[in-house]
């Protein structure tokens, strides 16, 4: 891979990461070029093999199609999996299966990166607060721009290094992760969203009794296997009934 290709891929990897902002936030970043299937096409284009890029991207996409990140709970990170996994597979002429196989450990590294950034960014929070207090308002407003530096570091550098310093280096690094950890991380990925949902509940629940609403939603999926659109309709209906009760009259 040429240095130029590696630099370009690393840049795009940063732009498509969860906290990268410069492609209209998550609209063009995390949710667009951050999707493995799109990343596959883009990386394939850079490396001159769009077709295989898409095939590998789609395979990785399948692993993460149901990924949600409620309240900072990130059960997996598609970024390294895509921007390291796909180039390496393409460069080495490896199959989609290989990319999928290394995507799990890469995702773990990605999760670690996410939490490092989210922890470090507290520094920016306090800086912003201080600047506001000091009346440096323009500067304070620029904090979310400055704070890109942390995400840039944890994304650009590893992706560039992995792409440029080659295919034989990364698998070795991955092999360092003890085999037995894999299970643990998958269990963790399964239960981690609970924390995010817990946070959403914390900021939504007004009284313990309202847990009943939560349970009704839960039953609609867990017991009745309703599609989420149907759940949302029922939720609207319940809110409508509630509105009629609360407003003490019929609303239509």
């Amino acid at each position: 891979m040429t240095i130029f290709q590696a630099l370009l891929i690393a840049l795009l990897g940063y732009l498509g990461s969860i906290y990268g902002t410069f492609l209209f936030g998550t609209v063009g970043g995390w949710n667009l070029i951050g999707r493995p299937i799109v990343a596959g096409a883009v990386i394939g284009f850079i490396m001159g093999d769009v077709r295989n890029g898409i095939i590998i991207g789609a395979a990785i996409q399948a692993l993460y199609v149901g990924l949600v990140t409620p309240g900072m709970s990130v059960p997996g990170d598609v970024n390294f999996a895509s921007y390291i996994g796909i180039p390496l597979a393409l460069a080495s002429g490896a199959s989609a299966e290989y990319a999928v196989a290394i995507s799990v450990p890469l995702s773990l590294l990605g999760v670690a990166a996410i939490y490092s950034v989210a922890t470090f960014n507290a520094v920016f929070v306090h800086l912003q607060e201080r600047w506001i207090a000091e009346g440096k308002l323009k500067q304070a407003a620029r904090i979310p721009i400055y704070s890109n530096i942390s995400e840039f570091i944890v994304r650009f550098i590893p992706i560039f290094a992995a792409c440029y310093f080659g295919a034989e280096f990364v698998p070795k690094l991955i092999a360092l992760i003890p085999e037995s950890l894999a299970d643990i991380f998958q269990v963790l990925g399964g239960i981690l969203p609970a924390v995010g949902f817990g946070l959403l509940i914390k900021y939504t629940l007004k009284s313990n009794r309202q847990l009943l609403y939560l349970l009704i939603g839960f039953i609609m999926i867990a017991v009745l296997h309703m599609p989420i659109v149907a759940v949302t309709i029922v939720a609207l209906f319940i809110a409508f009934i509630d509105y009629q009760i609360t407003s003490g009259r019929n609303a239509d």
Partner: protein, 270 residues
């Protein structure tokens, strides 16, 4: 005489969407992005430095929502802040309580409808179209995603803004805002309950084997209530965060410990 022009609203919208997750952090989550957005218009709203500072300080508090559906909230708040700057009697607490009241529900609704429904549907279609390396897959995704998400978020933001500037006329403090908050609340709770059944995965591997017969704990739990463990884990997280007042970072640690212990003992399996 409105202080903000159409182009200011647009600028705020663009900056919200761009930076919402840009300084994501364990402590205040999306607060820096909110403060930035206010910082862009604070000069138009207030003349006195002191007022400007106060305004921005109001928005350094904890804030978290799903950035797309939740785009309605910075919209509403922008409207309210403008009215306030124009001299309406909108107390700080009302602005703060409006943010807090709306962020939870819209996080739930957004995570479920955008992250849990729209995105997987578009991705699935794209994966289908991409078979054999066909460019139609990624192309479809890009067009569909942008074609839906940009109008949607702009409508939410701009409607929210209009709602916000009409706040006081509509006896905002009581009546309509409360009804909307409450409704969003209930819907948020229901969909969060629903997607936690869908996205939290926890199966126990414990089983009692004796000769040919095997009795699995998971089977028993399923006969009581399917997805019981995901439910209990979600409630545990809520309990720790809300009732015990734990920081989210600490709760992550608790869950990592659970995952390690449960995985090593086979209590939870994949």
């Amino acid at each position: 005489m409105a202080k903000l022009e159409k182009k200011d609203i647009r600028k705020c919208y663009v900056n919200w969407m761009t930076f919402a997750l840009g300084c994501q952090n364990m402590e205040r989550m999306m607060a820096p992005a909110f403060a930035r957005m206010m910082g862009l218009v604070v000069d138009k709203l207030y003349d006195k430095k002191e007022d400007k500072i106060k305004c921005m300080q109001r928005h350094t508090q904890f804030f978290n929502t799903e950035e797309a559906m939740g785009a309605i909230i910075p919209g509403v708040i922008l409207g309210m802040e403008e009215k306030r700057a124009e001299g309406e009697d909108i107390p700080d607490e009302l602005i703060q309580s409006t943010k807090t009241a709306l962020m939870g529900p819209f996080a739930g609704i957004g995570d479920s409808l955008i992250g849990g429904t729209l995105r997987p549907i578009l991705c699935s279609i794209a994966m289908g179209l991409a078979a054999g390396g066909n460019l139609a897959g990624p192309a479809f995704y890009c067009v569909a995603w942008l074609g839906i998400i940009i109008p949607l978020t702009w409508i939410l933001f701009s409607r929210g803004y209009k709602f916000g500037i009409n706040a006081t006329d509509m006896v905002f403090a009581g009546g309509r805002k409360d009804a909307i908050t409450r409704g969003a609340n209930l819907i948020g709770l229901i969909v969060v309950g629903a997607i936690s059944a869908q996205y939290v995965t926890a199966n126990t591997g414990w089983a009692y084997v004796s000769g040919d017969m095997e009795i699995t704990l998971q089977g028993i739990l399923d006969s009581i209530l399917p997805c019981l463990l995901p439910l209990l884990l979600t409630l545990l997280a809520w309990y720790l965060l809300d009732k015990k007042g734990m920081k989210i970072g600490k709760v992550f640690v608790v869950f990592i410990v659970i995952a390690v212990a449960a995985s090593l003992t086979g209590l939870l399996i994949i």
